[in-house]
Every structure is written in C-alpha cells, then in structure tokens.
C-alpha cells in the first residue's frame, strides 16, 4: 500500500503509541531461546532472534481454548465466547507470517472456524524482516519465505540507519496515520528500489540447505511414500510430539469436556493434539492406521509438502527450522528431505 521511513530512535515512541491501543506481544529472550510474550517496553524485546519456541500461532489458536460453557443435562452451550484484547504481534518473522497464512487457509476454509476468525480480527501483525539467516536449521530460502510478501499489516525492514515500514493493510494504515509525526515520507519508487538493493545484499548472507528447489519438492514427496528413509526416521523418533507442538502450520486438536467439581456444568475445550502420538489415529476395536512411528513421521512431512498442496494449494512448511531445532533425537527436516531428494535422483 505505501512505504515510509521510521527513524531508529523513534522505535520506542512508535511502540508506546501502539501500546495505547493494543496489548503488544513480541520476541523475548528466555534462557538461551526466545518466546513470544507480552511486552511493556520496547527494550524487553529482542528483535534479532532465532524463531521462538512456539510460533505466534498461539495467539490465533491457543494451546487450550474454551469452545463454550455448558450446564450439565443441557444440550446447548450456555455461552460461547473468547476472551481477548486487541493485540499487536510485534516483530514476527516472514516465515511465521507464512505460517499464519497456512493456519488461515485451514481455519478460514468453509466452514470457517469462528474462534479463529474472531481472534484473527483482533490481531495486527507487524513483521520484522530477517536480514540474516537465523541458523542452519532454517530452510526459508527454499520455501521462499525469507522475503516479505503478504500476510502482514506492517513490515519493518532494517535499512541500516533507519527502518523502512511497508504498510500493507487498512489496519496497518490506521496505525501509520496515528504515528504520522514519527515517520518520514519519500517516493515509493525510491524506497522500493532501496529495498531491492537491501534484499540483494541480504541474500549473500542466506544459505540454501535443501538440495531440491521449490518446484521439485512436491514431486519428490509424491514418489517417496514407500521409501526406506521413513523407517530410519521412525527408528529414531521417540514420539515426544515436540516437532508438531512447535510447528507454525500444525493445527490438529482434540476436544474434551471439563466439568466443575460440583458437577453442575463445565466447559468444552480444545487443546493442541499431535499426529505423532500413538492414539491419534486409533479407532474402535484397537485398529490404528498409523501405528508405527515411521508412518507417523511420514504423515507429518507429507502434510507439509504434499497433502497440503493438494488440499490448500500451498506448502505447509515455512522453513522456520523449528522442528529440526527442537527434535531431541536429532531428526532433521533438512536431512530427511535431502535424503529423499538424493534417493529420487539416483533412481
């Protein structure tokens, strides 16, 4: 929509301005990692960070979310609502913004999930462009998520002496209007070409770690269903569910009823679930369609690189590298995909 400059010294003021209207969550250091958490002051954030333990998905689709209250014996929910404040997600990486677009695809798809929709209406995404690659686990270049494209309200790019703000939605525009005094205008052409230059420079610092390129990925997966590689992965997997918990595009959930101790009523709640856990695909009679760890791991990656393309016309891997980073068994998405690629190329 439009581009403006923000003086680096004015970031604090810009933040304080936002704080007047929004709860702000941003990347905060936690031991040697980062998490998205509520911040009161711009100094609490670490804008140069490796992807947070959990992605910002948790604000759209919380780990545990009440679907509604009920009274025992009734058949209708007595109340269905969410509790939320207008929130700014500050400093989201481009990969995580892609992740949000993936969950949008799932939850907005007809029939749209009303909880997700209401939450996403309350959220404003202010991105922060990565000017260098966070670490070796990331595959954002291959997944084409390393540059801002869409899905945010405002994108902040570090242009050395100042920030470039790309305003990408009416919501973002409102904020920019309010912050008028803090900002500096210039011709759109000029800023755009500056950005192009910055991105060319930045690419030198990014590494491509997947052998296959974007266009080959789907084919590689299409032919790999019966690969032996899954068995090897399955042997090492311990089903801790970490990879699915941290993934910005995993969306499976379970629903259960929680009853008050006096048994007068309770609430129906959904909670993140994981296709890596054994009971996930079990049905009556004890049959389990993904009993083996190998088939569960395969299912996970197929959901990222194959099924999602069929269903949502989109890769459901943002290249954030979280699953590789978090796996205790050292199962690396990069290694697995590269092994599959090599296997395919050898044949």
């Amino acid at each position: 929509m439009r581009y403006v400059y923000l003086d680096k010294d004015n970031l604090g003021k810009f933040f304080d301005l936002l704080k007047e209207d929004y709860k702000i969550v941003g990347p905060v250091k936690k031991e040697n990692k980062f998490v998205f958490a509520e911040v009161e002051d711009v100094s609490e954030m670490s804008l140069e960070y490796i992807p947070t333990i959990l992605p910002p998905k948790k604000y759209f689709f919380p780990q545990k979310e009440k679907l509604g209250d009920f009274n025992m014996g009734d058949t209708k929910m007595s109340q269905t609502s969410i509790e939320m404040q207008p929130t700014v997600i500050f400093g989201a990486h481009t990969c995580d913004i892609d992740g949000i677009e993936c969950s949008d695809a799932v939850f907005h798809k007809d029939p749209a999930d009303p909880y997700y929709s209401k939450r996403s209406k309350m959220i404003t995404v202010i991105g922060y462009e990565c000017m260098f690659q966070c670490d070796d686990c990331a595959t954002c270049v291959t997944m084409d998520t390393h540059n801002p494209k869409a899905g945010y309200d405002i994108m902040i790019t570090d242009a050395k002496d100042k920030y470039i703000l790309h305003v990408n939605s009416p919501k973002g525009n409102e904020i920019i209007q309010k912050a008028g005094e803090l900002l500096e205008n210039d011709s759109e052409e000029k800023i755009k070409s500056y950005l192009v230059k910055l991105r060319e420079e930045k690419m030198k610092k990014f590494k491509v770690s997947l052998i296959a390129n974007y266009n080959e990925l789907k084919d590689i997966f299409d032919g790999s269903y019966n690969s032996k590689i899954w068995e090897d992965v399955g042997k090492r997997c311990v089903s801790c569910g970490n990879c699915t918990a941290v993934c910005p595009t995993c969306y499976c959930f379970d629903i259960y009823d929680d009853v008050k101790l006096d048994i007068s009523g309770g609430d129906r709640t959904r909670i993140w679930d994981s296709c890596q856990l054994k009971p996930f695909a079990e049905v009556a009679g004890g049959e389990n369609f993904r009993e083996e760890r190998s088939s569960r791991q395969r299912h996970r990656l197929f959901r990222k690189f194959d099924y999602s393309v069929n269903k949502y016309n989109k890769f459901f891997c943002t290249g954030c590298g979280r699953c590789t980073r978090t796996c205790m068994a050292g199962i690396s998405l990069i290694d697995t995909v590269n092994d599959l690629t090599k296997e395919k190329n050898n044949v």
């Binding site: 009734d74 109340q79 969410i82 939320m84 209401k118 499976c252 369609f289």
Partner: protein, 287 residues
C-alpha cells in the same frame, strides 16, 4: 499454579459451529447386548436434512462427542425424526447407551459426503454389510426400496459374527421377502438354531449373478472386511470406480479441522465417509 499475569481481556461472543442442536430421544430399543437403537427428534420436529451415508456428531455435556451414522432414510414416513444405532465401546457410547426416551442429546450435523445416489440411479446395486456396517447401509437400502423404480436389480449380502449379533432382524426379514431383492446372509459362527449360511461374507459373493457393466457394489463393514470383499469384487469384474465404501476414523470436529480423521490427503469427515474404491485405492492408510 500461579495466575498472576491475567490481563484485562474483552469477552467477545462467538456464534459457534461447535454448538449442538437439541435432540430428544423418542424411541429406544436394545438390539443386542452392546447395540442400542435410538430415534431422535430435533427441536420443533425440524428434519435433519441428511442424505444416506451422512453422519451426525452426538454430544452429551460432561462426557463428550462422537460421530454416529444416520441409519434411517430421509424417505421414511416421519421426517421429523432420524434413527441411529450405537455400539457400546467406550466412554461416550456407554453414556449414550444409558439414555432413554425423553432424554435430551446434542446433535451437530449432518456431516460428510453421502453415498453417490445420482450415480447409483439406473444401476444394479449390490449391498455388502458386515457387522455394524448394516447401520449406515440401512439408510441407503431403505432409500432404494422407497424409490425402487429409480434403480435396477438389488442384492443384499449380510455378514455377522454370530446369529444373535444380527441387527434389524425383523426389518431385514421383510427385505428378504421382497421379490425384487436378492438376499443372502451368513454368520461366522452358527448356534444350534441357525439354519442359514456359515462362513465369512466373501463366500456369498461368487454366488451373486451380476452384470458388471451396470453394477455398483456398496460395501460397509469393519476395516478387515474391506480387504477381502474388495478382492472378491474385483475378481468378479466390478470396476474400481463402482465399488463404494464407507470408512470410519476417529473424529473430533466433523468440520475438516482437527486432523484426526485424515487418510493421506483425504478427510473422512468431509471427503468421506463414503468413498469410491478408486479414490482410495493407492492410499496405504485407507484400508
């Protein structure tokens, strides 16, 4: 645990797709030791609006929800109710089996892709039901009987573990007496009073006379049955895209979100539960 950081959030009401409608149980019948029949009426006698092959999510607050097939046909006389049969296998189904006439139950749905009725029209039909499979199939069979002229020759093959596990005995008796229906039944294990066939259901298939050019086979049963029945049908020459199945998976939402019912890239709750064999043939996780 510490709840220090609670913020001042707004309450925003949500028009929930997870909110059930109210159903009232108007009739029940214990069919076997573990299976119970229920007839349910929605508020103001509103028809459910289902097509054979679809299912509903039934809900009892405090216990949970479960997907259950609609067993009645929308063509049945009293359109203000629908029928289901529930096998007591666990937490929810046990609680449901304790309910009786007059009790209320939550209903969401109908969900899922129905049997491809338009494609079936004008064709010969062979129904193959194993065990509880007769429950969803019954809706289609009754539909076909009620619209008999729209369809060609009909045969019904039933299989059961033992005679006392048969469901809808009286109703099926009536079907078997219909002159325009070819009927056969078998049990895995007979008891002394049983005079019919003994053996697995696949043994009935070779005996059926069918025109493979205009026959659809509709098969519903436990996972293990599919493998063998399909093999037999293919042997007989029934094309893969004319074998119709209904699959069952764990389900939480029924809306294509929760991921539980996923078979490769198919969601049983939306892409199914009914599938053509040709659609799922290559999918290892399907059968």
């Amino acid at each position: 645990m510490c709840k220090c950081n609670q913020d001042a959030s707004k309450t925003i009401s949500v028009d929930s797709i997870y909110s059930p409608m109210e159903g009232t149980i108007v009739k029940t019948e214990n069919m076997t030791e573990t299976e119970k029949f229920f007839e349910i009426k929605l508020e103001e006698g509103k028809p459910l609006g289902d097509i054979p092959g679809q299912f509903v999510e039934l809900s009892i607050f405090g216990i949970g929800e479960a997907p259950i097939s609609v067993s009645s046909s929308p063509t049945k006389q009293d359109q203000s109710t629908f029928e289901i049969v529930v096998r007591n296998v666990g937490m929810f189904t046990a609680a449901l089996n304790k309910l009786d006439v007059g009790d209320k139950i939550g209903v969401r749905g109908p969900f899922g892709r129905p049997f491809p009725i338009d494609d079936l029209k004008g064709n010969d039909l062979m129904f193959v039901a194993g065990g509880l499979g007769i429950v969803p199939l019954r809706s289609l069979i009754n539909f076909v009987i009620d619209r008999r002229r729209d369809f060609g020759a009909v045969s019904i093959l039933l299989g059961c573990k033992s005679p006392n596990e048969r469901l809808f005995v009286d109703e099926i008796d009536k079907w078997s007496n219909l002159t325009d229906i070819n009927y056969a039944c078998t049990v895995d294990k007979a008891d002394p009073d049983w005079k019919g066939n003994v053996g697995v259901i696949t043994t009935l298939i070779p005996g059926v006379d069918l025109d493979v050019n205009k026959t659809y086979a509709v098969v519903v049963g436990p996972p293990i049955m599919y493998k063998f029945v399909i093999k037999e049908l293919l042997k007989k020459g029934v094309p893969e895209n004319k074998i119709v199945l209904s699959l069952e998976r764990r389900m939480k939402c029924g809306l294509g979100k929760c991921g539980h019912c996923q078979i490769n890239d198919l969601y049983v709750c939306q892409d199914g539960p009914t599938f053509l064999y040709s659609e799922i043939k290559g999918l290892e996780e399907a059968l």
